[in-house]
Amino acid sequence: MSLFSQPVGVSHYLVVGAVMFVCGVVAMATKRNALGVLMGIELVLNGANLNFIAFGSQILHREPARTIGLDGQLIALFVIVLAAAEAAIALAITLNFYNNQGTVDVDRADDLSG
Amino acid sequence: MSTQLDDPRIVESDVRTDEMLVNMGPQHPSTHGVLRLVLRTDGEIVSDTTAHIGYLHRCAEKIGENLAPRQWIPYTDRMDYLAAMNMNLGWSLAVEKLLNLELPEKAVHLRVIIAELGRIASHLVGMGTYGLDLGSFSPFLYAFREREKILDLFEEVCGARLTYSYITPGGATHDLPPGWIQKCEAFLDQFLPVVDEFHTLLTSNAIFIRRACDIGVLTPEMAISYACSGPVLRGSGVDQDLRRDGEERYTEMYDGYAFEVIVEKDGHYPQDYKYPAVPREARLGDCWHRFYVRMLEIRQSIDLMRQAFDRYSTAKGSYHIPMKLNEKLPRGEAYLETEAPRGQMGFYVVGNGTPIPWRVRARSSSFNNLSVVSELCRGCLIADVPAVVGSLDIVMGEIDR
């Protein structure tokens, strides 16, 4: 049976979501550029969003009644909107940091460490 | 915290950005030839402008010291190639001053007609390219359409369309061809409504007003101290026009002509041509005023030409005084400034008893007009730089010579 002739299920989405999530987490941990960290956060949020969509999708479930229904999509909407807010505020912080320090290297933000 | 905020050394701006040096020109669409402006910008805001010139330097003055005055006339054509007739006139008048020649009446009125027509042709380019600098393409072509008609007229007079070498020391190379005056009158008649069109398309256009008003304000004091001249000077409200205020030898050309210097007095311009009023946003000395002065001068030149037609037709004498090519220039010097379309165009010539001048020098109006650009562009936006440079209406050939 070919890979392409098998109907896609929730697991497929979860795997993609997991890959994006992990990429995001690792990017958050390893990037030195503050904007790179921000991009990692976006990836994490999208990975999570994929899960919400998958759990709510009737297309991916054998029994539509067992999905979480529209809640999945609604929560995804909230995530998208909040991600916009989060990106705005993170960008503002980054720019402020850049204005004060002349760099966006998060490792240099150690003014408060003893 | 509060003490920190009150600290005057701490400034606040939108985003901290780095300054950037940008080259505008010499291969830039809106630098009118080969002007090179080095802009120091912070984002879109220009903090400093430096004009670099010399890309069109052709040693014209040095060549003039190796040629007879009449041989040098083609070089004056190539200085301000948009108003070659006026360049010829300036040089001819300077040489005539050195030779102390008195011209017949007919030649004088012929020169008035030709000079004013040349002024119209030049201002048409200035106007059209200014529209182009502000992003309006069509007025440029309309202006060139009209200019083509003027060039046709010039072609009939002297055979050339751009570099005429028509006015020479002693008069002109030819008389006006028969029927030319009528053609010229017909042209002026059809040209007048076209000027109104230009006013509709540009002068009173809302976007144009927002782009040109209160931009690049040149105060009268600054204009005088930088020795600006022509429409740039008059756009700042300084009442000076060499056709009225110049040297006797030049102003006598315009003796008996009714004309008023185009300059703003008490918030309005003297001529009442029913052209658009000065918009509220405009400040004396801004780009809009410089542009408007040029537009009014087009109209004024039309009036002057119409007066000159009558006087030319009834004038006595020949169109020129025959002058030998190897006529010896007397020992001595002569300097004469004329009101070219771009301002005071001065020619200086020193004779040493040979046919070849010992020293030739040109005082270019565009050069001085360009020198204010760094003052005018300080703190403006990048988009305003072409607006300011365009409103100065420079010709690089005249600056670099």
């Binding site: - | 879109e44 502000l134 992003g135 309309y142 927002r210 782009r211 936006l381 988009a383 305003d384």
Partner: protein, 463 residues
């Protein structure tokens, strides 16, 4: 009871909708003004709503192909047919509009424009130019980010092209009918800015960077008022499906949303301004302002890649004009419902659709020509003035008009004078998904009809 239905309450109270032909019901049982002039009854119903059967270009193709090919292949071939048609359309519209722009500009400027290649009118001038561009050297500046520089034009074009997917050309003639077509098109058109930003950054030229930053700032700001303008027709129609929106404007020209009320009429002006700014056309073409930024973001591009930017620009122009035609000017519906008097025959319906497509393309082209006209007339505004126009004029104006249109629709649900043959709510009813209808019934107190849920699959055709 929560009143969340779009329908006038009287309709629901009076008639159980299942048994009555929905079209004929008008609010309060009043026969609308214009139905009386036609011989009422079924004919009126059909004349307004009859030609709504979805006969897509691709759908018959797919159906036919399934008889000779396996399903998966038929699907592939049908999809390729759609894609090819759209690519051809995207490129052809670019070619024709470039020629048209030169002609229009020429005529505006008292000259002829192209006159030689392809005969007297220079039809083939753009093709010749395209061939010239193909043979040009593909320059890449030394300081450029090579990968991004190469990919940027395709990103821009891809976005412009992808928006065509959801653009219907006639009733049912759409590559992918989408429930959220309006939203999708706006979203995808907004992505074009990435191509520009990447091009500007990757060129390694300061002028390009300036152009890119300007375009980004401008496009992002103008998405706000543009979105607001688009919302009003969507609000009146109650759907984001462009096919439905256009179908709802069937009939005479006063059914068009632009004539719905004074607010939509004014709103179209705001929309046009914002759309012009959104696709970077004069007087808002700051990103490529030749007198300031040389050529803006595509200064360093040459040859084929440059061509892609150009095609993308004209594609976007076509797209926003098409959106205007669909949202405000009745889409493929002409001012006079000629096809309403035709016999109801599949061939005639097909012909009606074809004429509708021509009509739609004409409207799009007209919009593009108006943009050209504006371009060759007005000077260019400055970047701060562009943003000011957006934030101080367009956005508040769009918001006020949005509010006005909302109140108007609330006060006069059937339009201004009752001249509509069928109220909007009734038309919309035809296209409502069965599940939603079931939900409405549920809210209104009717039990959810099992059969409604069962056939929830498709848009319900009136016949």
């Amino acid at each position: 009871m929560r009143a969340i239905s779009w329908l006038p309450r009287s309709v629901k109270a009076e008639e159980p909708r299942k048994n009555v032909p929905r079209v004929l019901v008008s609010p309060g049982g009043r026969v609308p003004y214009f139905t009386t002039s036609l011989s009422a009854g079924r004919k009126a119903a059909r004349s307004t709503l009859g030609k709504t059967t979805a006969t897509g270009i691709g759908r018959p193709v797919a159906e036919y192909l399934q008889t000779i090919l396996p399903f998966w292949l038929a699907y592939l071939v049908a999809a390729l047919v759609h894609a090819t048609l759209l690519i051809v359309l995207s490129l052809a519209s670019g070619v024709i509009f470039v020629w048209g722009e030169r002609k229009v500009a020429g005529r505006i400027q008292d000259r002829l424009g192209p006159t030689r290649v392809g005969g007297r009118y220079g039809w083939l001038q753009t093709i010749a130019d395209g061939i010239k561009l193909l043979t040009k050297e593909d320059l890449r500046p030394k300081g450029a980010d090579s990968f991004l520089f190469r990919i940027a034009p395709y990103v821009g074009w891809g976005a412009s092209y992808a928006a065509f997917i959801a653009l219907p050309f006639a009733n049912g003639w759409v590559a992918q009918r989408m429930n959220v077509a309006v939203f999708f098109i706006l979203a995808v058109l907004g992505l074009e800015v990435f191509g520009v930003i990447l091009a500007g950054y990757a060129s390694g030229s300061k002028w390009s960077l300036f152009g890119a930053m300007r375009e980004a700032a401008q496009v992002v700001s103008y998405e706000v008022p543009l979105g607001m303008c688009v919302i009003v027709p969507v609000m009146i129609a109650g759907t984001m499906d462009l096919t439905t929106i256009a179908n709802m404007q069937q009939g005479w020209f006063f059914n068009w949303f632009v004539f719905h009320d004074i607010f939509t009429f004014l709103l179209f002006g705001v929309y046009f301004t914002c759309a012009t700014a959104g696709v970077n056309r004069a007087p808002f073409d700051l990103a490529e302002a030749e007198s300031e930024l040389v050529a803006g973001f595509h200064t360093e591009y040459s040859g084929f890649r440059w061509l892609f930017f150009f095609v993308a620009e004209y594609g976007s122009m076509f797209m926003v004009s098409g959106l205007a035609a669909l949202l405000f000017f009745g889409g493929w519906n002409g001012p006079i419902p000629v096809t309403a008097f035709w016999p109801d025959h599949p061939a005639m319906n097909y012909l009606a659709n074809f004429l509708g497509m021509l009509n739609f393309v004409f409207k799009c082209t007209f919009g593009v020509v108006v943009m050209m006209w504006v371009r060759w007339t007005l000077p260019r505004v400055r970047i701060d003035q562009v943003i000011t126009t957006c934030l101080k004029y367009c956005t508040p104006l769009a918001a006020v008009l949005f509010l006005g249109a909302t109140l108007w629709t609330f006060a006069f649900p059937g339009g201004i004078t009752g001249m509509r043959q069928v109220p909007y709510g009734m038309v919309r009813e035809q296209y409502k998904p069965a599940e939603v209808r079931a939900a409405e019934d549920h809210v209104a107190g009717h039990p959810a009809a099992e059969s409604d849920l069962a056939v929830a699959g498709q848009h319900r055709s009136p016949r």
